[in-house]
């Protein structure tokens, strides 16, 4: 068997080895330092600038999908949301009343990301900041650190894993200037297909007759819709075509310069990004009402060697970002777009005014083009100073480092929303046309809100010691740091860490590492603020062993490693001083209602007990075990990295099981939950060349499984209702066994309370046999299989031409069709809202055999209860990213006095194949659609 395998591998690489590897990593960027790759014991994956810049996007998150094992992303909308809500309420007595404990609105509104199922901490150049809004061109590398030992220095934030971003560092050498300009087109994907108006009318009648009501439309009206002879009374408008453009541009420009001599080196980068949205604009409106994003980044990095022992590094990064949205807000607009039927009203009435009805009072197109705009502006400045002093003269191997960082961020919103009046046109039987106003005009407002203000400060001092005694190598360090954040009106949050690390290796073969950390946070109750966390790791590099050296020519590296540690997750979930029983004065907007006195109704003030019982909460913790193998074969052409892990989380914050309402107040979060996460990650890469033709393939695969081991679940009446022991976040509901087909089946079947099932309704399984479908028939309905996601990058380069492609996919995933506007249709209150193509497959006596949806009704709590009927497979794979680039040869570029010229074209979300075809597998209908981006650019180096 072994020989067969070897032969197979040799067949793949039977040619001479003049190879140029993608990137050889001798040292790795890890938290707060750079370590040699040979002695690193943790679980990490690194992406370089070259791999990141093939993705045309405004931030770096889309570039990470499918490239990092253990890192799962799911996109939930295609464009960022603006944040314009004020962070205070207005009290008629006092003025602005701050909202405490609000936290920072996230820069990432498009993706749900998880690193081994935890939300990772983003560390950018050694500073913990959740910055997602950076162009990939400005990033040197991104590393994910997944295990306990590599994250332990974060103390109370170490459970979450780290997404480490390193921007371009100054490099000594000749001055080098690089300019990249790229422009792309974004196209929406997977837009839903609304029903044409005549079909809608017919199906609405069917739904109404099914519930025993009079039909809403007559036969003649179907023909009027179909023929379009009366465009004002019987319109048929596909609002998606009217409101959304087919393409929108995305432009990015980058200018960077670096260089320097022995004493000082610098790296400067400037970036401008301009992304437009898909909403149509009106030529009559001379300001921007489309969604858009404009961002300017300046990053200056200077490194000065003051003496040969003393180094000073300074970095300043500034970001200005302006986001724009139509005045009503993207969410409201997309909701209205989703819900308005084709036949509701024409775009404009006969007299040119905006059309509407008494139920649909706002005109969708008016909301898009004529509702003003809202903007959010973010300004962010970050300054770093690093000092390093080598005390080698004094004690050999000793050095001291100090870092301090100050950042100021401010987010403000401007709301300039307006509304134009809309009218309902009615033609009386005698031919008189009348116009009734439905939505009255609202003048353009001019509101300025401070959404968010923050000051960050971070200071760290570390003492490092490196030494070797023969074959014994030591490295020790002590780090102390403190991080202070000041958000809005809150009191400062101060996190203090003190870490001691020791690394030992014998001859590079046997590796032992250990770290102990004590970490405290000032918002916990005094006396409960500090905790101790620790981690240690063992490694064995087999190929360094004497008995292995040179023995197997095909095995270049085989390193076994394992780490174990206790990490913590606090700080961000600490609540805002809720360990005391407190009362707040209330003005009616916060807390309880305002009351008035006497017949004059003068306003009275109030006092109310705060919403939760007081409780001393502390951080959550985890025991993390990670075992891995790093191996390379055939002269480092084939590389394998495997990690298997088990993380046991405990002290998780949740409400206790016996949270009885009779106590008259809400129960607080207490540290009682326990869950376990297990998984395996594989990365396999192969690089080879045939003469000048180099090709590579790199694949990664991740399996994840979770289990809730304890959550203080009350004893349920039936065993199928118990959820302890099931994966995290499972769905519960009724089990569905298809649809009732005949009257006898319906008469004998069980139904939900107060409802009589008819043929065409969903048949639920009555688990306890009492003839009624109620909470005792609810059980697990989603899959418990481990989540599997993978990515495969293929590429080649020859003679200046470079090509690469990324395929990524997810298996064992499910989608729940919970949006009744799409899958149920006709909802509304006094008017009937839009219906989409899926409901064409509804049950009727004729189509009973092939029906996939229940019979049509107007709102039906039986059919739309949470059940397995609405679960579909969410498996998909995408040709996610493709790039073709050409580097002009030296002879040509020298003639133009350039040191390099490169043209490239790339694309994102090129093709998708999904098990369920009704919607994009990631972005649901009703959210800003997923976009395919096709991008071309040129890069000039001087």
């Amino acid at each position: 068997m072994k020989r067969y395998l070897i032969a197979l591998l040799l067949w793949g690489i039977s040619l001479p080895l003049t190879w140029a590897k993608e990137s050889e990593q001798d040292s790795l960027d890890v938290l707060y330092e750079r370590v040699p790759a040979k002695t690193f014991l943790g679980a990490q994956t690194t992406l370089t600038n070259k791999q990141l810049t093939t993705t045309p996007s405004t931030g770096y998150l889309p570039a990470l999908t499918g490239r990092l094992p253990g890192f799962y992303t799911q996109q939930n909308r295609g464009f960022r949301l603006t944040n314009t809500a004020a962070n205070y309420n207005v009290d008629s007595f006092v003025g602005n009343r701050p909202i405490a404990g609000q936290g920072v609105p996230s820069e990432n509104t498009e993706y749900d990301i998880a690193l081994r199922r935890q939300a990772p901490i983003v560390v950018i150049d050694g500073i913990q900041r959740d910055i997602f809004s950076i162009d990939p061109e400005n990033i040197e590398s991104i590393t994910v650190l997944k295990d306990a030992l590599s994250t332990i220095a974060l103390g109370q934030r170490s459970s979450r894993g780290i997404l480490l971003i390193t921007t371009k560092k100054p490099v000594a050498g000749k001055t080098h200037i690089s300019f990249t300009a790229q422009a792309g087109l974004q196209e929406p994907q997977s837009l839903p297909t609304p029903l044409p108006a005549y079909q809608y009318a017919y199906l609405l009648n069917e739904a109404l007759t099914n519930i025993g009501n009079q039909p809403a439309y007559l036969e003649e009206q179907f023909d009027l819709f179909r023929s379009g002879m009366d465009p004002y009374g019987y319109p048929d408008i596909n609002w998606y075509d009217e409101v959304l453009k087919h393409t929108a541009p995305l432009m990015r420009y980058n200018l960077s310069a670096d260089g320097g001599g022995k004493t000082a080196q610098y790296a400067i980068a400037l970036n401008y990004t301009d992304q437009r949205g898909l909403f149509k604009e009106s030529p009559a409106v001379n300001y921007n009402t489309n969604s858009s994003l404009k961002r300017y980044i300046l990053n200056t990095n200077v490194n000065i060697n003051i003496t040969e022992r003393f180094t000073l590094g300074m970095q300043i990064m500034g970001r200005i970002q302006d986001g724009n949205e139509p005045g009503v807000g993207t969410q409201t607009l997309l909701e209205a777009l989703k819900k308005t039927p084709n036949g509701a009203y024409p775009i404009r009435n006969a007299n040119g005014s905006w059309a509407s009805t008494s139920y649909f009072k706002d005109n969708v197109l008016a909301m898009t083009t004529n509702s003003g705009y809202r903007q959010d502006n973010m300004k962010d400045v970050m300054a770093n100073i690093d000092l390093r002093y080598d005390l080698g003269d004094w004690i050999k191997g000793l050095s001291v480092k100090a870092t301090t960082n100050i950042a100021v961020q401010s987010l403000t919103g401007i709301v300039r929303e307006r509304k134009e009046p809309t009218f309902r046109m009615a033609v009386s039987p005698t031919g008189d046309t009348s116009y009734n106003v439905q939505a009255t005009a609202i003048a353009q407002s001019n509101d300025f809100n401070t959404v968010f203000n923050a000051r960050y400060w971070f200071g760290q001092v570390s003492i490092n010691y490196d030494n070797s005694l023969g074959k014994h190598n030591f490295h020790g360090s002590v780090l102390g740091d403190q991080r202070r954040t000041l958000f809005n009106y809150d009191l400062p949050a101060v996190t203090t860490n003190l870490t001691g690390k020791l690394t030992y290796d014998y001859d590079g073969r046997y590796l032992v590492q250990g770290a102990v950390n004590t970490s405290g946070f000032n918002r916990y109750r005094p006396g409960y603020q500090y905790g101790i966390f620790y981690a240690f790791g063992l490694g064995w590099d087999l190929t360094e062993e004497a008995f292995m050296k040179g023995k197997l020519s095909w095995l270049d590296k085989l390193k076994l490693r394992g780490t174990f540690g206790k990490t913590g997750n606090g700080v961000d979930n600490s609540g805002y001083y809720d360990y005391r029983s407190t009362f707040t004065a209330t003005d009616g907007r916060i807390g309880s209602g305002v009351y008035s006195a006497g017949t004059e109704r003068s306003e009275l003030r109030g006092y109310w007990e705060n919403a939760y019982l007081p409780n001393v909460r502390t951080w959550e913790s985890a025991y993390k075990l990670n075992v891995g193998i790093d191996a390379s074969f055939f002269g480092n052409k084939l590389e394998l990295v495997t990690d298997v892990y088990q993380d046991r989380y405990f002290d998780l914050l949740q409400t206790r099981g016996k949270s009885i309402e009779m106590i008259g107040i809400n129960y607080p979060f207490e540290n009682i939950g326990k869950t376990t996460m297990k998984g395996a990650e594989f990365t396999l890469s192969y690089t080879n060349s045939l003469g000048k033709f180099t090709y590579f393939a790199s694949g990664n695969l991740t399996l994840e499984q979770s289990k809730v081991t304890f959550f203080d679940e009350p004893q349920q009446r039936y065993p199928w209702q118990q959820l302890t022991g099931l994966p995290v976040g499972v769905r519960t509901g009724y089990l569905a066994d298809g649809l009732f087909q005949t009257m006898e089946e319906a008469a004998n079947g069980a139904s939900t309370i107060g409802y009589e099932v008819q043929p065409g309704d969903i048949r639920y399984r009555d688990l306890n046999g009492d003839g009624v479908i109620n909470q005792f028939d609810r059980t697990l309905i989603s899959s418990t299989k481990p989540l599997l996601y993978y990515g495969l990058t293929l590429g080649f380069h020859v003679k200046g031409i470079e090509c690469s492609a990324l395929i990524q996919g997810v298996e064992n995933r499910e989608i729940y069709l919970g949006d009744q506007a799409i899958h149920g249709g006709f909802l509304g209150f006094g008017g009937y809202e839009q219906a989409y193509e899926p409901i064409l497959n509804r049950w009727t006596p004729e189509t009973a055999a092939t029906a996939t949806y229940p019979r049509l009704t107007i709102g039906n709590s039986h059919n739309y209860a949470e059940s397995s009927f609405w679960i579909r497979s969410g498996n998909y794979f995408r040709l996610k990213n493709v790039q073709v680039a050409y580097n002009f040869p030296m002879q040509l570029t020298e003639k133009l006095k350039l040191s390099g010229l490169r043209v490239f074209a790339n694309a994102l979300n090129v093709l998708t194949s999904a098990a369920y075809k009704g919607q994009d597998p990631e972005v649901p209908i009703g959210a800003y659609p997923l976009q395919r981006v096709i991008n071309v650019g040129v890069n000039v180096n001087l």
Partner: protein
């Protein structure tokens, strides 16, 4: 090699480093350790505060959260509670909270949050108990407030008001769920035993009545000093009115003698006792004997004139058009408004007698083809029917008329709209704001409570006839030749009962009484298991034809006399017993 220069160099950085370290790690106190805007209980109930400002504000918050939490008549799914009784149905044909109530499409797990207010009531109880336990330390100085009659102090009045609000919360729980857990004077904290059993129905009634007896003399009496500032406060009359209503409910068949679950002490008394009716009658008579309240002559004014002589207790609302906008007839255009959410039924309209006081099925004057002429004047005040004057137009609720055009927009299903609670807009051309309050207890109800209890206890008697005549005279019924306002003089107890129940239906329509009355009289099973009717009016060539049609099919099963205790409460509390029919 250590030279002077090297020493300097060696010392430079450590000095800088130590300086930086001390600068960075020295925790200078720039800010306070804990947020000061969140205060502890000593600040709210301050032993040095002779005005009792914060404590008084705490009491204000209790008023604000009193039932109904969000003050509106359309508080369930946008509709009135009585749209789930046989008086009216929702105009919205889609499934919604109110239709789920009338069809019983709810369970212990799927609650109708706006009406099944278990958690909210207990929150109010907790707040009240905190106030009662802590107010004693506050040295409230009476001279700083409006002068009170002798024997009352501000602090005692406040404490009594808090006890009333707590008892009111218990009563809201009692009528919905039967016997509930009485929390007593304890405010529980994390870790204390909360798995408490339910108290019996009897214990709850005794508790509420005991509280009302204890606080009566500490409360302000009607009329309060400076009504412009104090009209909203709990008064002695309010405490007596709550006591009268509790005793009336406790004496009713559902709880007294016809327990739906045999001798289950949680769903009522375990046996019948006629004296309960006597106690109820006496409690109501006490209020009548105060002679401080009286019937308002113009019925329309009861809900639109602030602090009139009929209102005993109310929750502040405001100067608005809320009732008109939600329930006004559809079809007047969106500038004027009116969504017509509630459709009164034909059964309700038929309950109104002729203006002589005779029921329509016994009167020779009733014309089915002209059903609204010469009817009880209260019909026009409660309901808008086809041809009624409204907003200077004649209401058109025939099929295809202006106010019932058909199509998909929400409009009346029965050709009737509700008129009660609205301002005088018959002659106006649009709605304007009306000063309105949510009236919870009023004198008419006290009178009706009295005569119902007295009849049940001792049969028809002169006081009952006198009160009925007073009500009918106020209503505008013609006195008739014998001055009896159409009330027959020789009635049996059963006939008088039917007359009183009908009179109650007409007087207290849409005030959240009918819904509870059909339950406590145990007639919901008959009335809510048959289809309800509306009127289909067809106009052709100027002639109107009236066809009563079935418009709604409610459903009522035995368990629905009580709401289910929330499933989560039963699961988490091993001592909690679920109501019969819901487990």
């Amino acid at each position: 090699m250590r030279t002077k220069e090297n020493i300097k160099r060696y010392t430079v950085f450590p000095v800088i480093a130590i300086g930086l370290i001390t600068a960075m790690l020295s925790c200078k106190k720039d800010y306070e350790a804990e947020p000061l805007e969140n205060v502890t209980i000593e600040y709210v109930f301050d032993p040095n505060d002779s005005l009792g400002t914060n404590a008084g504000n705490f009491l204000n918050s209790m008023y604000a959260d009193m039932f109904p939490k969000s003050v509106s008549r359309n508080r369930i799914g946008g509709n009135l509670l009585d749209a789930a009784s046989d008086d009216a149905i929702p105009s919205n044909i889609e499934e919604n909270d109110i239709s789920k109530l009338s069809k019983g499409q709810y369970s212990a797990y799927e609650r109708i949050e706006s009406e099944m207010i278990w958690g909210d009531c207990y929150k109010n109880i907790r707040a009240a108990t905190i106030f009662i336990n802590n107010i004693d330390v506050v040295p409230v100085n009476d001279s700083k407030f409006d002068p009170l009659p002798a024997g009352l102090t501000v602090k005692r009045a406040w404490k009594a008001e808090a006890r009333f609000l707590r008892a009111l919360a218990y009563f809201e729980l009692l009528k919905r769920y039967g016997g509930v857990t009485l929390m007593g004077e304890r405010v529980l904290q994390l870790g204390e035993e909360v798995e408490l059993p339910r108290n019996t129905y009897e214990a709850c009634v005794d508790y509420i009545v005991g509280e009302m007896d204890a606080i009566q003399d500490s409360l302000l009496a009607y009329p309060v000093p400076s009504p412009s500032r104090n009209s909203h406060r709990v008064t002695k009359g309010a405490a007596m009115a709550l006591k009268a209503r509790v005793l009336l409910y406790a004496a009713s068949p559902l709880f007294n003698g016809e327990n739906i679950d045999g001798a289950n002490p949680l769903t009522g008394y375990t046996s019948f006792n006629a004296e309960r009716w006597a106690r109820a009658a006496e409690a109501a008579k006490d209020i009548i004997d105060l002679q401080t309240y009286s019937l308002v002559n113009n019925v329309k004014e009861i809900f639109t004139r602030q602090y009139n002589e009929e209102i005993i207790f109310f929750k502040q609302w405001g100067n608005n058009k809320d009732i008109e906008n939600a329930n006004g007839p559809f079809g007047f255009g969106t500038q004027i408004g009116g969504e017509g959410r509630i459709s009164p039924t034909q059964e309700f309209v038929d309950a109104f007698p002729m203006n002589t006081g005779e029921p329509i099925d016994l009167s020779g004057d009733y014309d089915p083809n002209n059903p609204y002429t010469d009817r009880d004047p209260r019909l026009a005040i409660n309901v808008l029917y086809n041809g009624a004057k409204w907003l200077s137009e004649s209401l058109q609720t025939f099929e295809g008329g202006r106010n019932k055009p058909g199509g998909t927009e929400m409009q009346t299903v029965t050709s009737y709209y509700m008129r009660k609670f609205m301002g005088d807009f018959e002659e106006a051309t649009q709605y304007s704001e009306v000063q309105r309050d949510y009236v919870m207890f009023r004198y008419t109800e006290v009178v009706l409570n009295y005569i119902e209890a007295l009849n049940e206890y001792s049969g028809p008697s002169q006081p009952i006839y006198d009160q009925l005549k007073a009500l009918r005279m106020r209503a505008g019924i013609l006195p008739g030749d014998d001055g009896n306002y159409g009330i027959p003089t020789t009635l049996s107890k059963e006939q008088m009962r039917a007359l009183i129940r009908n009179e109650r239906r007409l007087e207290l329509a849409f005030e959240e009484h009918r819904y509870w009355d059909i339950r406590r009289w145990k007639i919901a099973e008959e009335l809510m298991n048959v289809p309800l009717h509306g009127m289909q009016i067809i106009q052709s060539a100027g002639v109107l034809t009236y066809n009563p049609t079935e418009v709604f099919e409610p459903r009522f099963v035995l368990g629905m006399y009580f709401y289910p205790i929330p499933d989560s409460e039963v699961l988490k509390n091993t001592a909690m017993k679920q109501n019969p029919g819901w487990d």
